[in-house]
């Protein structure tokens, strides 16, 4: 399969070839790749690409996948509107 046509991160449109290019340049961890290519920074927050990127790092550098660290898990697990947060906060203040 042509690595230029394999999409790894749908949010930020990153291909397998993009990943390999970054590995070659010396970016070897999920956090490093994330900062340059934006993998895991989109609306899915790495819920889609996270495992694939870690697997590719493990494969490329011949490391056990459990040693490939993931980024820090932070809120949110899915997007929430600011207006909904505001309304909930105001409801709580009133009650």
């Amino acid at each position: 399969m042509d690595p230029n046509k394999v999409i790894i991160c749908r949010c930020s449109d990153v291909t397998l070839q993009d990943l390999h290019d970054l590995f070659k340049e010396g970016y070897e961890t999920f956090d490093e790749v994330k900062r340059i290519a934006r993998v895991g920074m989109g609306p899915c927050q790495a819920n889609t690409c996270g495992k694939i990127v870690r697997k590719e790092i493990a494969r490329y550098f011949n490391r056990p996948i459990e040693d490939v660290e993931f980024h820090r898990m932070r809120p949110f697990t899915m997007g929430v509107k600011l207006s909904a947060i505001k309304e909930a906060a105001e409801d709580e203040e009133e009650s």
């Binding site: 490093e32 949110f76 906060a89």
Partner: protein
């Protein structure tokens, strides 16, 4: 790991990488940079990505202007193969009342006297810049069109690559454990990967700068504080300038990528935690939806925290001290990213004994020895 180097820089954020680049570009070729995580993993990569010149002290204005001048040509100067996403669409600083407007007028006069093209705007003029601004709660504003946005990760990457090309050695995921001195002078830096003998240590450790100071018994009068921030899903472009308000406690801008980044500060204890809180989220949502109503319809996808390294007068400390060979660039009080270029330039001039590009008295560690500080920066969110 190398056993010896002339300079050891501690911290791989914008300050450390810029210092490394400027020293190497001036011809120094024996430089090591140590970073405990990945590059820009501290405050640089957690910041709001804004770069502005609208400050209330002369030193901050000068530093910010010199840095913006650099950012305008950064890709060319550093021969960067990427795009640092520099966008100059201005900062709109909103005033809420007469008192704030009077201070803004004073600040704009200072900024203009230093060549910064800032101006006062009425609420109506502000609305022309930001059509979705809720002018019911806006008194007036100031605007500077050459302020803007810059990608912190990629700007750091650009300094890193340029420094590496000039011979600087980088060790990431390397923890500094101690600094050895002898007869009041720097001797070596101990890390978890080995010890490096050196003549100079440059402390660019951001939120952890005071801990590095303690290693050589230098009491740096700074403390760190968690400041939170959030990002929304990306949408089509609706906002050019960054909007900030000191009294409403908000900064909010749309990045070139389309997402909105916003943050605010609150009173909390000094510390090193960078955790996320519900309180921030509630207050941020109320403030953003109040000042910029349509933004309320955007979905938040992530929130995070980072450390402000606060100095007593909210101006940085770029200085040597009484330990021979120990230098520091810290205490940026939330604005180290935007002052990165000039930090590197001033530090390299200081180390090489060159004529400084701007007066350094207001940035020296000694300024805190007396009780009365000459200048105090109020323009901090």
């Amino acid at each position: 790991m190398k056993k010896k180097a002339k300079y050891v820089i501690i911290g791989g954020g914008i300050s450390g990488t810029s210092i490394a680049y400027h020293l190497a570009d001036a011809g120094e070729n024996d430089i090591v940079l140590l970073e405990s995580g990945y590059l820009a993993s501290g405050a640089t990569g957690r910041c709001g990505a804004g770069v502005r010149q609208q400050w209330g002290t002369e030193s901050n204005c000068r530093m910010a202007k010199m840095s913006i001048d650099f950012f305008e040509k950064a890709e060319e100067i550093l021969e960067y193969d990427g795009d640092v996403e520099f966008k100059q669409e201005g900062y709109l600083i909103v005033n809420s009342n007469d008192e704030e407007a009077a201070l803004s007028e004073k600040n704009v006069r200072l900024q203009r006297s230093l060549g910064i093209p800032a101006e006062m705007l009425t609420a109506e003029e502000a609305k022309e810049k930001i059509p979705h601004l809720n002018t019911d709660i806006v008194h007036s504003a100031t605007f500077c069109g050459t302020d803007g946005h810059l990608n912190p990760f990629l700007m750091t990457d650009a300094f890193y690559k340029a420094a590496k090309k000039r011979g600087v050695t980088f060790y990431t995921y390397t923890h500094v454990e101690d600094i050895v001195t002898e007869n009041g002078a720097i001797k070596a830096v101990k890390t978890d990967k080995g010890t490096i003998e050196c003549e100079y240590v440059i402390n660019a450790a951001g939120g952890h700068a005071q801990k590095i100071g303690e290693m050589v018994d230098v009491d740096i009068p700074v403390f760190s504080q968690n400041r939170e921030i959030l990002v929304t899903e990306p949408i089509e472009k609706i906002q050019g300038p960054m909007v900030i308000s000191f009294s409403k406690n908000i900064y909010c801008q749309q990045t070139p990528h389309g997402s909105f980044i916003m943050g605010r500060g609150d009173d909390r204890d000094a510390g090193y935690s960078v955790h996320s809180t519900w309180k921030f989220l509630d207050e941020m949502a109320k403030t953003a939806a109040g000042l910029l109503p349509p933004i309320g319809e955007l979905r938040v996808i992530r929130q995070w925290g980072g450390l402000y390294n606060m100095s007593p007068d909210r101006q940085p400390i770029i200085s040597g001290c009484d330990v021979n060979g120990f230098y520091m660039a810290c205490g940026f009080s939330g604005h180290g990213f935007m002052m990165g270029p000039v930090t590197g330039k001033l530090m390299s001039e200081m180390l090489l004994g060159l004529e400084p590009s701007m007066p350094l008295e207001e940035l020296a560690l000694e300024r805190f020895e007396g009780q009365d500080l000459e200048a105090y920066e109020t323009n901090v969110v």
